[in-house]
Symmetry: C2
Subunit: 234 residues, 2 copies
Amino acid sequence: MKFTNPDCLNCSSRAHSLLSCCRASELAHLSETKSCFTYKKGQLIFHEGGKPSGLYCINTGKIKIAKLGSDGKEQIVRLAKPGDLIGYRALMADTNYSASAVALEDAVICFIPRSQFLELISQNVEFAGGLMKLISNALGEAEERMVQMAYKPVRERLAEALLLLQKTYQEREEGDKFTISISREDLASIVGTAKETTIRLLSEFKDEGLITAKGSSITILDHERLYKISHMYD
Amino acid sequence: MKFTNPDCLNCSSRAHSLLSCCRASELAHLSETKSCFTYKKGQLIFHEGGKPSGLYCINTGKIKIAKLGSDGKEQIVRLAKPGDLIGYRALMADTNYSASAVALEDAVICFIPRSQFLELISQNVEFAGGLMKLISNALGEAEERMVQMAYKPVRERLAEALLLLQKTYQEREEGDKFTISISREDLASIVGTAKETTIRLLSEFKDEGLITAKGSSITILDHERLYKISHMYD
DNA sequence: TTCAGAAAATGACATACATCATCTTTTAGG
DNA sequence: CCTAAAAGATGATGTATGTCATTTTCTGAA
């Protein structure tokens, strides 16, 4: 659903965004050429296999980037939050999307047309460099997770997933505790395991006093011990 | 061991390299500033955790890029061949190496100092763009393998690994058959499984007439059926 | 508040894969 | 050509995790 274009200059999430390196004139031009949409929880933003026509910049809401495994199971490859760009990999590689993007909660997302994106790259060296850094870091993280999938037991990967959620989505103001609302199914898709296994291990974590859960809300009580579990054999 | 600098202009592997988009003057300058070394089979080129000081361009030989898993097991995250660049991720991300590079056979590799690399990026738009494309593709492949690690059985991943080796290392002139010399241990590190499991499944493949093996040489006989196995449940 | 459908929780069971141990073959150096 | 060490092969066994089935709890719309 079309949304009144927010002004990039005054965007609350600009501070944590790559777009923060743009000049005021560039931002003004962006504000004009982009279009902004609202998405309901669960709604598709772009689809694996689809052709990219531009870049997305998240204004509000949590997003998952996920691939479909051969047997129909889903693997979440990346999480995104306000200020993050999504869809840049396919644009840069000049290929179709290799993953889908879905809103984990109601979201507002700006769409920047391909031409505008390419213009930005060619005219703003900082932006281009920042983008390179972004992709390079993503590659490093993907390779790291690849190793973990190969050799880490599910229990450790689940602990890691919970910490990843906290790292990604905890607001600066919040204190020690962290609560997130995420379905066991999505959590399993981050870990790369079956939903039932995730549920069982979460129950263990509850018994051990590491987390509490009511409904689909999970609260991390003991960050430190979770960290130890996730690095058990290091 | 230091090696007489080969001339980039006449480099036999330049055709398949990103450096092919460089101008003659740039290549001449490269030839001067780079230094070239020989590596013995098994020798380390750069080390996970180490600080990158430049870019490596493979002249001859096969290279593995591998990470150490928490329990000491190795995961090969990428393979490289003559013409390929390695070590660019750490340079671009401005972090330490997140993986090690090791020669799978005797190799000759040129070293391009960081400053020269950065100069090339800033002065040659094509090179910079090609590099972006390179990283973006690597990211796509890494995420794809992450999903496969999560949900594909080892048998299918092994079939895929054999095809990856063929795709990466088969010379254009060779015909249908393809033979490669690789230890069962390295093969297991690509698949992300135990050496014994790899050996057992290779025996199955032999019984089924998909491959033959003598010593550490593996010959792919039936590319097509291997492909089917690797896509069993698609 | 109530009720239906979705999500979470738990149990029973099957199995792919890791691990450890042993034996055989290949490889490389003298 | 021989021999020791490395790599490959194979068997026995345990276990983590997937799958299917059932019950319980949560959630949101009427």
